[in-house]
């Protein structure tokens, strides 16, 4: 910001100095009438002002001089930000305000996006009902992979995410792999894009309807298998969808059971998997 302010302040002095130099070179040591001197100076001043203004306002120069412009350009290049902008103005405003706040506190755009992950997670889950089957499956896979990564680091951390408890920015920056962050961002963008089309009743080719009762049966089959593997109380908790802040069972089996539940759902055909994931995550 400072550099941009300096360039604005120097606009007239630099243009005038260049015009002065130009007038001096044009005169070439010859005495000129005041009127001619003034006219030459003004003409050159206009030329240099236009050149300076044009140069300072080009996108490539502003990327270095204007942090606000750079931040906005970087945000516009982000697939999540674009998807929010195109398909959900309200969520876009919320995300924009969050990112600007974090960046004003010194975070880079990628750090701000990382810190926005719980917010994005919640927003994507809310939109899941409108998304197409492919995006729902993708979202389910990313969620399962995320829990798996957290489970490896610390099962308590995994449970905190499961129960929608906030993670501090240092933890958010530490625990997720680059590949997982990229996959998460792509999945959020795809959920928003397809949900946008879903809200406008644009059917996605390839989506096939699933009978509700068939899905309920599959859900129970998976719950039974979870109960056999992890015990009845854990299976009951996982089937309830909402996890309390204080875990009723040890976090490690709860987390593992949730991962197993999502994996089992993902093994089903796309249409069935999409419906089961929607019911489990939304």
């Amino acid at each position: 910001m400072m550099l941009f302010l300096w360039l604005s302040l120097l606009f007239m002095p630099v243009s005038a100095a260049l015009s002065g130099l130009g007038v001096w070179l044009l005169a070439g040591g010859e005495q000129q009438e005041d009127r001619e001197l003034f006219r030459n100076f003004i003409c050159l001043l206009a030329v240099f002002m236009l050149l300076y203004w044009g140069t300072v306002n080009t996108d490539s120069v502003r990327m270095y001089t204007d942090p606000q412009f750079r931040a906005q350009t970087e945000m516009d290049a982000n697939p999540i930000y674009n998807a929010f902008k195109d398909f959900s103005p309200d969520d876009h405003r919320t995300l924009h305000e969050f990112l600007i706040l974090r960046m004003s506190q010194g975070a880079t755009l990628s750090e701000a996006f990382l810190q926005a992950r719980p917010l994005l997670d919640q927003m994507a889950n809310n939109r899941l009902g409108f998304a197409d089957q492919k995006s729902r499956v993708e979202w389910g896979k990313v969620t399962a992979d995320t829990l798996r990564e957290l489970q490896t680091v610390d099962p308590e951390l995994c449970y905190r995410v499961l129960s929608s408890q906030p993670l501090d920015s240092q933890t958010l920056a530490r625990v997720f792999s680059v590949a997982n962050t990229e996959a998460f961002q792509q999945a959020v963008a795809h959920v928003y894009e397809s949900a946008g089309r879903g809200i406008r009743h644009e059917r996605t080719p390839g989506d096939t309807p699933v009978e509700f009762n068939a899905a309920a049966r599959e859900f129970h089959t998976i719950s039974d298998s979870i109960a056999k593997q992890f015990g009845e109380p854990v299976a009951e908790q996982v089937a309830r969808k909402v996890f309390p802040e204080q875990p009723t069972e040890p976090p490690a089996p709860l987390c593992a059971a949730r991962i197993a539940q999502l994996d089992a759902m993902l093994e089903r055909p796309q249409a069935m998997a999409a419906m089961l994931i929607d019911s489990a995550l939304r």
Binding site: P13, A16, G20, A27
Partner: protein, 130 residues
């Protein structure tokens, strides 16, 4: 004979210098009046900016016009004070440097006041008269 010729030619030169000097004094006095107006315009412009009576491109355009008016004043005063062409160019450039431009106007105005007072002009708050 030689003395006579010399006496015949002598009155011609001071008369020409006096006319030139008088022209320069009028030029300097005109430039000083313009400089005073330019300082007043600047104050008015800053007030308009603070009160947001003028904003955006209109403010920038008005500032530019006032700056050009100040440059014309500087040029006139420089000519009146017999400054060289390079000095004129330097003062014109300095007229576009914030804060220094006010200093330039005050410096040239003081020089002009001295020149005009020495020539017997009456110099007041709003300029000089013969």
């Amino acid at each position: 004979m030689i003395r006579d010729t010399a006496l015949d030619e002598q009155p011609e030169e001071p008369e020409e210098n006096e006319a030139d000097l008088e022209e320069r004094q009028w030029l300097a006095a005109g430039g000083q009046k313009m400089a005073i107006c330019s300082i007043i315009f600047n104050f008015v412009l800053r007030s308009a900016e603070k009160s947001e009576a003028l904003t955006g491109h209109l403010l920038e355009a008005t500032s530019l016009v006032v700056a050009l008016f100040a440059v014309a004043a500087v040029l006139k005063m420089c000519s009146g004070l017999g400054k060289s062409q390079n000095q004129k160019i330097l003062f014109m450039v300095l007229s576009f440097v914030p804060l220094i431009n006010i200093g330039v106007l005050i410096y040239l105005s003081i020089k002009t006041t001295r020149l005009l007072r020495d020539a017997g002009w009456t110099v007041g708050l709003f300029g000089a008269k013969p």
